[in-house]
Symmetry: D2
Subunit: 324 residues, 4 copies
């Protein structure tokens, strides 16, 4: 329970000056599936009430389509729309992902699998090199969740500058999974990278996914980026490993025991504190300026969400393999 609470706190708004000052309580109440501190194997139901939202804050949204938000598409899709807090399209729903992810992480501990995500880029400020060059545990020591303190400070400064302008900024989150056994992932339509891509692209504001050498793979030749196998005899038990890991720990859709790593691009938050041109539901020209309490940069709070979706996806596939 403490772990779940801690994970929820990592996602919570108002953790630092970088994120929205909204102070949501985010207390989780379990309704089913847990008895005397243990899961019973039956579905886990829980509630996280939104103590902090004032429906009146969203009155404008009944009649105006916010640019780059889902107001227009929901209205057209369903012919009806709940405007409170963006309704079903609100990033608020990711709170449930964090609870589920926290539970999945607890299970993954038994498999000795660890998942670590971190902010690797904000605007043009980019963490150089590979995840191997950093002590990833440092990511949790600063509000942007970047494992390199000096870069973290630069990112912070940029976010504060952007915030002062009533603007927002995008970035990239990197994620590493260590300890996955060989054989996780399913052929053809169930490839592990496809499941991870799906999971990541369901996160609000995510615009791209790449794993292993990713988009850079386009530049290289097979002779440069093929991962040669060798027999690693440095441990008690011989193990077939690869000398490089451009594959990103997945070959033919199935984990090969090497680290799985991937990157997720996030666009700037669409809600701005400056005036934007848009139209009303009736199609008339108007302008919109959001009132307080919005994130200038989604990245720091998206880190635990990326980890959660990774944990959920991986555990699903571990269980599928276990059935074999």
């Amino acid at each position: 329970m403490d772990f779940i609470r801690k994970e929820l706190n990592r996602r919570r708004p108002g953790q630092s000056g970088l994120t929205t000052p909204r102070k949501e309580a985010d207390e989780v109440t379990f309704l089913s599936g847990i008895y005397e501190g243990k899961t019973t194997g039956t579905p886990i139901g829980f509630l996280v009430l939104n103590e902090n939202q004032h429906s009146s804050d969203y009155d404008d949204l009944k009649t105006v389509y916010r640019p780059s938000h889902a107001d227009y598409t929901y209205q057209q899709k369903y012919g009806i729309r709940d405007p409170r807090g963006g309704g079903r399209s609100s990033a608020r729903e990711t709170v449930a992902r964090c609870v589920a992810g926290a539970i999945a992480k607890i299970v993954l501990q038994d498999y000795r699998i660890t998942i670590r995500a971190y902010t690797s880029q904000v605007g043009t400020i980019r963490l150089k090199g590979s995840y191997n060059d950093y002590d990833l545990s440092l990511a949790e020591t600063n509000p942007v969740r970047c494992p390199h303190p000096a870069t973290a400070l630069e990112m912070e400064a940029l976010i504060k500058e952007v915030k002062a302008q009533g603007d927002t900024i995008g970035g990239i989150i990197s994620c590493v999974i260590q300890g996955t056994p060989v054989g996780i992932g399913e052929p053809v339509f169930g490839k592990l990278q496809a499941a991870l891509a799906h999971a990541m692209l369901t996160i609000n504001a995510a615009k791209g996914f790449e794993y292993g050498d990713g988009f850079e793979a386009a530049l290289y030749r097979g002779s440069e980026h093929n991962d040669r196998f060798y027999n690693d005899k440095s441990h008690d038990q011989e193990m077939i490993r690869t000398r490089t890991n451009y594959s990103g720990g997945i070959q033919g859709g199935i984990s090969n025991g090497e680290d799985i790593y991937f990157r997720v691009a996030f666009k700037a938050v669409a809600t701005l504190l400056t005036e934007q041109e848009t139209v009303t539901v009736a199609g008339e020209v108007t302008t919109l300026k959001a009132r307080g309490r919005h994130d200038p940069c989604v990245l720091p709070r998206a880190v635990p969400i990326v980890e959660s979706m990774t944990a959920i996806t991986l555990l699903d596939y571990l269980l599928i393999q276990k059935a074999r």
Copy 2:
């Protein structure tokens, strides 16, 4: 039937000097679901026999793990492996995707939806600008399927050079969907971009997916990349549209009526005609050199596969919306 045959031909090996000279027949035989030239609404079963494969070509593969192939992961996952042609992990399975995609495209014609993919990058040779700058129908006029003839020639030259060295090269395929009605895609875990990402990452050798401004979104501010709504009165019927389309035609996981566009990164083919270090099934060091008949670059043949997976995915979501 002619259309399906034509689509299969676009995927077929041996179309040009750029691809594997293997001359697979790729004749599709429909077993069910089609009666007097029309689908009956029941499952469509079909067979595409592989006339051209000699199992003996794969004798080596029983005992050796090919680098960056799925031999090792399949062996570990299942404890047993069919080595013929890479078995279940062979890109040969995409022939079925092309048949399904051709059928989906026929249905999408009724919705006036068109899907066009093309090669936008091979190695470092990159098509500049946006898809709007090119006449995409030109892609089918050259063997690399790039809509800019001059760039196509450069790409061809590079692929031939790489091939002469017994090597392979990666690249990027871009894809545009035009005519999607507003409202396609489902909230939360069924976002349209997530389904497309999943579909693309199931294609062999795909390493990344991005839609709209994609990974570039990381660099921009909300004020720069938000898509302002306006009321387009230039047609008989008023239509709410966006002045820019950084969103890539999808907002909140649901199509907004603008063009949907995305890019898929492909790594270099792992099978090389040069010697590579690897290990045998028993863990012993060996070297491997593939014999003839392999693609130096997967991109040209992957173009129809990207289109097929797009068509299948989009039609699924159109039918889901139709049920509403």
Copy 3:
């Protein structure tokens, strides 16, 4: 909302002397999916808290396996068990089915489809003839929900006698769906009768399902029970109908426009107010005698559950057909 409340009340314990005197409040709170009295197209979440249950009532159940209950199987399956109220196996979960069923019924009204279930047998007291012989609306006028008042009185008397003995009794519920359009149901594994059978057998205490002539079909010859088609010209629009309806409104898994009717057998409630031999979790012999508040006969309260599961199942298949 009123309709949903009314439907919940039909399932509620303590409606009459025939059912458990437990007075559960059964107030439903909608958490999502409904805005200003209309569904928004997104998932409908709701809570029905159990105000009336005292966990202490179930203290015995931690250590004793109740005969013909799920205590033993859950314990063995999961290795852990929440004994409160039978946990996940409690018939209490059917409250959610009634809420979902009430919503499905509201939608089915637009299709002019009506669903009516009723108690057709309790112990040896059996309603003779077919559903056509009765005014089914009378079922709601008596506590056993039997449409024939005289038979209802006999059933009531039997249930009271059984209750006085601390015993319980089984019975049969019949159900009729009227107004289903032709074409609902899917081939092979999605046959409408298979979906209905599945739905009914998920209800606690259900032991059998039959539709149309059901188990009686075993006795008859094809020449006796085939349903002859004729062209019904008695309405404005010609309609192909069948002269008899032994098929029960479904042919080849697909509705043919005639009435769909089926029967569901229920066993006697397993919880008795008399002593029963059983074993403890440790495997020791013991006896068990339930304390107050249990139904002598599940039939009257199961009627709305049968209707709800029918409504949910049918609406699913209507939406599948709508996607075509």
Copy 4:
């Protein structure tokens, strides 16, 4: 392979004078998923071509709706229909179920689970008592597949009489699963009996399903039919068992280790060799008389289909439990 062929033969028409004289070859060709006699873990594709069917036999069926067949419902559902052999609604599709069932049975042998179905009723001729009263292996010694030779002869005589009249007859198949471990089946909507009911009701001509005491449960009191637990110390390992087994081996949707037994009702085959009134596709009155080659009684050939669907269903649920 031999086992699969043998199982297919049990379903094959023309095994005896009781079934259709059609001599389908029913040779199965495996296309994928099997390598050197073992399954590889990837999907198993196979073909069973219908060597014996003459499309011309079905010419009438283009224009006439056969009574109690699916011609009319398919036509209305899809607006198009493949009339050859009943198309998708033909019982011919059960050949695939037998192949899948044979493979599932091979896997179930490793779990020491046995499945035995037999004909327990044809028309009014009924096998008395319980499955425990018979040596079920005798079912395969006679063409009706009834384990009691004397009753089998009566059934045979009845079927022959019915056949001589150009008529058909229904019946009941009973099935027993022995050796299921405790804990198979899922709560609420995944109850094992619901999955079995679903599976059985997908078989052509099935009209009802009951397990354990089934419809008879309606007649009994809890005190009569509750299954008392006891600690069976007669084996090396203590085991909690039930003194009776009215529950049919399933409690709360989950297997309790006792025998699982159930019964499936089948109606008479709809195709008659006598004239029947019906309508044409255009709605005009006509009569129909089938030509040769049809079963007077589906029961004997349905026995292996019931077993196959049981094996497939049970194996699914075993794998689900294995994932836990």
